[in-house]
């Protein structure tokens, strides 16, 4: 076993020791071990190069209907005792939570291979080699590259006194690049289980090309325009839909756009959105932070609101079963999707451009924040390549625009959906998304570049 991993046998012994120390009615222990490294670059040089290794335990003790949670990263015998005792001590101080029924019982978890040797061995020298290529390609064109390349090795394990036991090791890598000229910028990113698949030349080419094509942007009057959203921008839409609407707690508390609309058409019939921790082309997640296997949950099926995801607490409130979407504790927001998908269509980007009389091509969004949970009204900026489309062609770069747009409304009418999907790491989840062509998007102001 690599020095970067604790290994399943050692972790299992540790979890069993915690459960043996517990005196509560029910006890759950979650172990997260992390060995990560990140090479960050700016101005065509590596300016930050960091590594981190730690193991953290979260223990949930249940005494009757009283629950205490304690965390710590001291995994010595004394450290384990201290965390267990602390969790039980604060459970005794708690007031009863009548909605709590039980920790989940054991359900078989599927093993998923997510630990590739090449990713595990991707050290600082190989990270520097990738970054060196990107900086060189930018410099050759008189541009400035910035970004970050991260390689992360994690082990997640959950056990409880009802017999739950689950263990999942994973190694993943991701890179993002912004290439800038004086008046423009371009972007590329990539998320993968296999670090050897990072194609520095291709990523540099994409970001450099976009930066060169968006030099000297012109003003465009804000207003409502048809848009073609690249996958980077569509990922943001899924982020907000998932965070604000697809978790059971949001529905139970009356703050989800899904509430009271199950079975009704809420989006274009071409739109299907689901979560699948074991789906193709995502960062696989076989179980949640309660050790419950991930179920595929179809949130929007051909435009119709279908379902939301649950953890054990929100499921028990409705007499349902958990879909395996519990988040790490402490958490008062409830369950959330972590592996979102939007179904692909059939269109190429060239087909999306055809027929646009006057519209806007958006590479990605920046600093988006929601204004209202029920409409998923969001404001944000465009960034790293915004273009005017005229008579079916990209004709010129434009200065970045601010939009204020309901994401739910935007998906009520979708002209075309891209036939390719791309994996993106969003704020909250991994999102596998296509590009979209939408008939209208509301831009409200412009910036100076």
């Amino acid at each position: 076993m690599s020095g970067r991993l604790l290994g399943e046998a050692a972790i299992k012994r540790l979890l069993e020791r915690v459960l043996a120390l517990s005196k509560a009615d029910q006890t759950e222990v979650v172990l997260e071990s992390n060995d990560s490294a990140l090479t960050r670059f700016a101005n065509n040089v590596i300016h930050q190069n960091v590594t981190e290794r730690q193991t953290e335990l979260t223990i949930r003790s249940v005494i009757g209907k009283r629950i205490g949670v304690a965390k710590g990263n001291d995994v010595s015998e004394a450290g384990l005792r201290r965390i267990v005792e602390r969790a039980e001590q604060i459970a005794r101080y708690q007031v009863e939570n009548p909605d709590f029924v039980s920790l989940p019982g054991p359900i078989a978890v599927r093993k998923v291979e997510a630990m590739l040797p090449d990713t595990l061995a991707f050290g600082p020298e190989r990270r520097a080699r990738v970054v060196g290529i990107i900086c060189r390609r930018a410099r050759e064109k008189g541009l400035v590259a910035s970004g970050a390349l991260q390689v992360e090795v994690t082990e997640l394990a959950v056990a409880n006194t009802l017999g739950v036991y689950a263990y999942h090791p994973e190694a993943m890598a991701d890179i993002n690049i912004v290439v800038m000229a004086d008046s423009s910028s371009g972007y590329a990113d990539y998320f993968t289980l296999d670090a050897s698949q990072i194609d520095a030349e291709a990523l540099a080419r994409e970001a450099v090309d976009k930066a060169l094509r968006s030099v000297n942007p012109l003003d465009l009057k804000p207003g409502e325009y048809p848009v073609i959203l690249e996958e980077y921008a569509v990922s943001d839409i899924l982020d907000f839909l998932g965070f604000l609407g697809f978790g059971a707690a949001a529905v139970q508390e009356g703050r989800s756009f899904m509430g009271g609309r199950f079975g009704q058409r809420i989006m274009d019939p071409k739109v299907s959105i689901w979560d699948d921790g074991l789906g193709e082309g995502t960062m696989p997640t076989p179980f949640d932070h309660e050790g419950v296997p991930k179920e595929k949950v179809e949130f929007v099926s051909r435009g119709v609101a279908n379902a939301v995801c649950y953890d054990s607490y929100t499921a028990q409130k409705e007499g349902k079963h958990s879909t395996g979407h519990a988040l790490p504790l402490p958490n008062s927001n409830g369950p959330l999707p972590m592996n979102l998908y939007m179904g692909a269509g059939t269109a190429t980007k060239e087909e999306m451009l055809a027929g646009v009389e006057r519209g806007i091509w958006v590479t990605r969004f920046h600093y988006t924040r929601h204004l209202h949970p029920l409409t998923v009204a969001v404001t944000g900026m465009t960034r790293d390549g915004t273009f005017l489309v005229e008579r079916g062609e990209i004709t010129r770069p434009i200065k970045n625009l601010r939009f204020t747009q309901s994401y739910v409304d935007a998906l009520k009418e979708v002209e075309l959906i891209g036939r390719e999907t791309r994996l993106e790491g969003g704020y909250f989840a991994y999102n596998r998304v296509p590009a979209l062509k939408l008939p209208r998007w509301k831009f409200v102001s412009a910036t100076e570049y």
């Binding site: 990140l38 090479t39 960050r40 700016a42 101005n43 065509n44 040089v45 590596i46 300016h47 190069n49 960091v50 590594t51 981190e52 290794r53 730690q54 953290e56 629950i67 205490g68 949670v69 965390k71 990263n73 201290r82 602390r86 101080y93 708690q94 007031v95 939570n97 009548p98 909605d99 600082p124 520097a128 080699r129 900086c135 400035v144 910035s146 970004g147 970050a148 991260q150 912004v178 508390e253 009356g254 703050r255 504790l329 402490p330 008062s332 924040r369 204004l371 029920l374 404001t379 944000g380 900026m381 960034r383 970045n400 601010r402 409200v444 102001s445 412009a446 910036t447 100076e448 570049y449």
Partner: protein, 479 residues
């Protein structure tokens, strides 16, 4: 601690580091959240670890670990040097941090009541009382109240001879009521929204907020918002309360004055800054009323400390004087580019992160106005209170903010309540339109606990002193 630190520094030097520092940290957190009468979160966390930062072959390296053993110190110090050497393969010049900095000192957050000594029953009791006050109001669907405490004990040592011990204690609390009805949901928060109000100090900070005493008013406002008029669209006079102004200051002044951001180090994440070096001392940032200071020495501020994470002492730095931009937040390395010394703003989010330039307490100095006089002096406009949403472009120019609640101002009086209020602008134009700032009796030092920056991401607690202020010709109601 001193021996462990010396061991790591010696290992780094033996491996070829020309400079090294180490932070050994033990931190403790306590979180309590009451939601609809139930204690949904009661959690205590503890974390220990160390991070070694080095310069080798003229480049930076950093490694960290949560296992505090001699063997791990040796491994991590050697790994820090290896990462620096790898970074040196993609460099254009050697890192220059200026003349050696040797600081020996000790600092402890002053407090009257140790927040960790107050019983859990007392804290839960306070939150349940606030929760009950909110839920007494018909129409409240979710009531949430919370207390968060953090204590960080930090030892710092460097190969230049610095040796510093610090204990920073942070406290935070807040309540939030969500009303549902009329096909709408609306939230109100107190004393501040999104992460609540925090400061450095003791439990007296929590007591001073009087959460139970504000629960009913807050809940009534949330319910009233359900049937309030939407904020009208147009260009008008805008009066901001102190909490919203704190976030305005944070996004449109605090971030763009971070010199590492200005020099491009954050370009791939939240972006760069319009406040480029040639503007220093010459650029009109705001009206002549606008005076902004970064002050890490203010009592009780969330950005208050004794020494930064490079060992520089806490300082007070002018940022905007009479409307002219005059200062940046700097580190040892970035200050060299301007021929200056660090003004002590490098902070790391724990043992496993490198220090970055972070806001300290970036404050707008108070003006002369009493709040009632300011409203009476305003013929027409909108008064907005408590942040709800925030967004700004990647050079910190075009912003849009939303607030939880607003009121019409007509004929010098506050009128009808407004919901879904937003305003937008361009940073220097907005601050140039500031024509009134309230006086010190309305000024408060707000704490923002969730300032994000860096890759891997880091969260910092920062402070902002503000008083209600007035801005002319602002575009409102953009939704």
């Amino acid at each position: 601690m001193k021996d462990l630190a010396a061991r790591a520094l010696d290992t780094a030097k033996a491996r070829g580091a020309t400079f090294a520092d180490i932070r050994l940290i033990h931190s403790r957190q306590e979180s309590i959240t009451v939601k609809n009468g139930k204690v949904e979160v009661l959690a205590i966390g503890e974390s220990q670890g160390f991070g070694v930062r080095v310069i080798a072959d003229g480049a930076w390296g950093f490694a960290s670990s949560g296992r505090v053993t001699v063997k791990e110190l040796d491994r991590v110090a050697a790994l820090a040097v290896r990462t620096a050497r790898a970074a040196a393969r993609v460099k254009q010049g050697d890192v220059d941090i200026g003349p050696p900095l040797r600081t020996v000192g000790r600092y402890q957050t002053p407090f009257r009541i140790d927040p960790f000594s107050v019983s859990l029953e007392d804290k839960i009791g306070l939150l349940l009382a606030a929760d009950e006050a909110m839920r007494r109001v018909k129409g409240i669907r979710v009531a949430e109240s919370a207390i968060e405490l953090t204590r960080e004990n930090k030892s710092f040592a460097s190969t230049e001879g610095s040796l510093i011990e610090q204990e920073i204690t942070r406290v935070g609390c807040g309540i939030e009521a969500m009303a549902e009805g009329n096909g709408d949901v609306q939230n109100r928060s107190y004393p501040n929204s999104v992460g609540r109000h925090h400061g450095c100090g003791g439990y007296e900070f929590v007591q001073a907020q009087d959460l139970p005493g504000n629960g009913q008013r807050l809940a009534e406002e949330a319910v009233a918002l359900l049937t309030a008029k939407p904020c009208p669209h147009g260009v008008t006079t805008l009066v901001l309360d102190a909490t919203q102004l704190a976030l305005q200051l944070h996004e449109s002044c605090g971030h763009p004055i971070e010199l590492d951001r200005v020099l491009g180090s954050e370009a791939s994440y939240a972006g760069t800054s319009f406040l480029t070096p040639e503007k220093l001392g010459a650029f009109r940032y705001g009206s002549t009323l606008v005076n902004i200071t970064a002050d890490a020495t203010l009592e009780g501020g969330l950005g208050t400390f004794g020494f930064d994470d490079e060992g520089a002492p806490a300082q007070r730095t002018p940022i905007v004087r009479d409307g002219i931009f005059v200062g940046y937040l700097t580190s040892r390395e970035t200050a060299r580019t301007l021929g200056l010394a660090s003004n002590g703003t490098m902070r790391a989010d724990g043992w496993n992160r490198i220090p970055l330039i972070r806001m300290t307490n970036v404050t707008l100095e108070p003006g002369d106005w009493a709040f009632d006089d300011l409203i009476a002096d305003t013929d027409e406009g909108v008064y907005m209170q408590t942040n709800k949403s925030w967004s700004i472009d990647d050079k910190r120019l075009n912003f849009q903010f939303g607030t939880e609640i607003a009121w019409e101002i007509k004929g010098g009086k506050l009128g009808a309540m407004l919901k879904n209020a937003t305003y937008t602008g361009i940073t220097p134009q907005f601050w140039a339109s500031c024509d009134a700032i309230c006086n010190r009796s309305h000024w408060n030092l707000w704490g923002t606990p969730n300032c994000g920056k860096g890759q891997p991401s880091q969260t910092a607690g920062v402070g902002h002193g503000t008083a209600p202020s007035r801005f002319r010709n602002v575009r409102v109601g953009v939704i």
